[in-house]
Amino acid sequence: MRELGPYLVANTASCTPHTTLDVIAQAVAGGIQWVQLRAKEETAREFYELAIAAAELTEGKAELLINDRIDVYLAARAAGAAVTGIHIGQKDLPVRVARTLIGEGIIGLSASSDDQLAQAARDAQAIDYLGVGAIRATPTKKDHPTPIGIDGFLRAAGRVDLPCVAIGALTAQDASALRQGGAAGMAVVRAICAAQSPETATRELVDVWESAR
């Protein structure tokens, strides 16, 4: 897995006026191949039910990763849902422990500082890809790391031998610079979740990414 491409973080609070499931359905129709489900304020039961419903939309078309909650991922998987992995941050369970818990399954890890990137390199066997940012300060995530810009991202990505996905207030306009610079993918929240037409927004993003080589 070297390239992921456009990547939707379906953040429940950012999905307005469309529902989270509607955003995911439209993004899949628009050609997205990576979806991360992020539900910071929902209960475990709500998140679990959302994950199962989302998996029906993504099955066979896109990867579906669960943000932070390894328990929710395991529960949805046990229920037979096509969830395909997790994405965790620095404050979640250690990535090696996560690998032991979930076995096969994709693991993405957020890393931004030099120390975090160095540690990720040491844990590389447990990790499938890194989420690196924030590229820009974003109003969507309160505890985002210090913005590093696209240049900062590309420097960071060059230091680790893992696919790196950029995140942080990105738009389709950033796709060329990121892909040409060696980004494995670009994650967006608002650019799709808050779009009038998430399907059109996704298609545009996929198109510019594809033509950016």
């Binding site: 609070a13 950012s14 820009r136 969507t140 009038q196």
Partner: protein, 261 residues
């Protein structure tokens, strides 16, 4: 609590309101803030917006005439405001009628605006309901938009203020109507936009956002009512309105009719 408590406190504190607002109403907005006793700052530089939002008393994000650069500054201001717990007010001008600003306004909602101020059509559209707005003019009634206001309040923890013949102030579980005759405010440009900035100043001075918003709308509407009664037309109204804002007394504000809905 008396409506005038927040007003008196605002005049004493002179809160600094960092306005990222539109080019049409900038001057009028700054004058409204000065007349009421607050301090305006009107700047749009992305590189300093985050820093400035941290030291300001309140931030206004008004989408009247956005540019790509100003939207970038707005995002940075919202980040800074949330980092420093500075209250920030979203005024979704013409949202619903125009696609790009609608997407942008909605994208800011997860950052939980302290208060959202707009007309009925804008509030309906922001919440994702059908609205009949045509740019800045509302064609929906305040009553018809109240459920949308409640919806936004519950989802994002914001207080919502809907301007109209009677203004509605809404939070997750209550609605108060403020009755003044502020119709004259639709005869000059910036009447609603400056109210957003003025409400920001009041929210900065108040202990409680909802009460501050009710008080702000009472004061502002009363000043408009009085100004209109001694004006020849919109030109002299704009001037008289600024005078009245400064002359309204605490007991005048307390006399404004308001009721739970």
């Amino acid at each position: 609590m008396r409506l005038s408590v927040v007003a008196e406190r605002m005049r004493a504190q002179q809160p600094l309101v960092f306005c990222l607002t539109n080019v049409v109403v900038s001057n009028f907005t700054a004058n409204v803030l000065l007349a009421a006793g607050a301090a305006p700052a009107m700047t749009n530089l992305p590189g300093e917006a985050r820093e400035f939002a941290k030291v300001a008393s309140a931030v206004l994000v008004n989408l009247g005439t956005p540019t790509t650069e100003q939207m970038h500054a707005m995002e940075q201001a919202v980040v800074g405001a949330n980092e420093a717990n500075t209250p920030w007010i979203l005024d979704p001008v013409a949202v619903g009628a125009l696609g790009e600003r609608t997407d942008f306004a909605r994208s800011l909602l997860p950052a939980r605006p302290t208060l959202i101020r707009g007309n009925a059509s804008e509030i309906l559209a922001l919440a994702g309901f059908e609205s009949a707005g045509r740019g800045v003019d509302s064609t929906d009634s305040v009553t018809a938009a109240m459920h949308a206001g409640t919806d936004l309040a519950r989802r994002y923890g914001s207080v919502v203020a809907i301007s109209g013949p009677a203004d509605a102030i809404i939070d997750a579980d209550r609605t108060t109507l403020v009755h003044t005759d502020g119709l004259a405010l639709t005869k000059v440009t910036g009447g609603g936009c400056a109210l957003g900035a003025f409400t920001a100043a009041m929210v900065a001075a108040g202990d409680e956002v909802f009460e501050a918003a009710v008080s702000a709308h009472a004061w502002y509407g009363l000043a408009a009512e009085r100004a209109w009664s001694r004006s020849r037309g919109p030109g002299s109204f704009a001037v008289n309105f600024l005078d009245e804002l400064g002359e309204v007394t605490p007991s005048d504000i307390d006399s404004v009719r308001h009721e739970k809905h």
